[in-house]
Symmetry: C2
Subunit: 200 residues, 2 copies
């Protein structure tokens, strides 16, 4: 037996398909949509259609970009095109940009190598990375995948793949996060911080 009218049931199902949203939350969200003024609900639907239609991957760095051309970072002449930061995800570009320190450009892999999930280099934007590096403009590649098993393995794999092109391959430093307490740092982080110690 159906407890909600079909159009409402369908909206609940759509929300329930989103990651991390269960059936109860989906109901709550669907009811919220129904409680919105007509134009706000339309704006929501419009935002979905528009994002899907207008957001493409930048043909160079593969980051999400509006329209078909290069993304603003790849277009920016002030960016050092010889310095390439490799990240797993567009979210990571946003995180790096927040630091306002990085002068180079990016390459977004759209994932990490994960044999458990049947994701190999062919499912990622590795081919595009290799062709960028082989063009000779890149001096240094900074691996900025997450410091977890899959991120490490991906960085290691790419490093071996790219070194033959004669580029410098570096990895973001490991260490104690700024503002944290030593006593809460885990063993692996402390060990890495000790290994990476620098003269002051």
């Amino acid at each position: 037996m159906q407890y909600f009218p079909p159009a409402l049931e369908q909206l609940v199902e759509q929300f329930a398909r989103l990651p991390g949203i269960g059936r109860k939350s989906a109901q709550r969200l669907a009811f919220y949509i129904l409680s919105l003024p007509e134009e706000d609900a339309a704006a929501f639907a419009q935002a979905i259609t528009q994002a899907k239609a207008e957001i493409h991957c930048c043909p160079v760095c593969q980051n999400f970009s509006q329209g078909d051309g290069l993304c603003p970072i790849c277009q920016d002449p002030k960016r050092d095109a010889g310095m390439l930061c490799v990240v797993a995800d567009p979210k990571d570009v946003a995180a790096m940009e927040r630091s306002r320190e990085y002068p180079g450009v990016y390459h977004v892999l759209h994932g990490v190598i994960s044999p458990m999930n049947h994701i190999g280099p062919d499912q990622l934007r590795v081919k595009e990375l290799v062709s960028r590096v082989s063009s000779g403009e890149v001096r240094e590649i900074i691996m900025a995948t997450n410091p977890d098993t899959e991120g490490e393995a991906t960085a290691m794999y790419l490093s071996r793949l790219l070194k033959p092109f004669g580029v410098k391959v570096t990895r973001l430093a490991y260490g104690i996060p700024v503002g944290s307490h030593l006593e809460y740092a885990d063993d692996a982080t402390l060990m890495r911080a000790l290994e990476g110690r620098r003269e002051m």
Copy 2:
């Protein structure tokens, strides 16, 4: 500085407006939408527009219903129109229907009286309830608002309002939930369960 292209930023903002969805979750959901096949994203947008366009309140019971006519429950000739269950929310109708035991019809208030949130009887579907009861068809009104302060106050208010029409007003029984353990029951529930004890 903007880290996401405008159309993506807009989608993130739309998701972040939903209740219980923070900025980080909104990002995750927006990225998920971008990762969907074209037609799935379109179906999502369509579900929102369609639900908003097609779901209206049933003119009798005020429950959500597809189209402009009566809802399926109000239309059903097998339902006892003399027995009226008053609930706060369309979700509560779904919960009652799940029990498959209730033979009567419903009235959805769309909220409870809550002076803190500036919600009085005028903001609820109380006028419609009174006119249904005054028409004389209703024998019994079952108050099924939540057993919390506001639900209780609302039930009490409506009970005083409706008794003059000569109808029987009842309240759902309080007690220990089936399948639970006595040791975890709170004092108030145990007291109510004792008060409401029945001969076996």
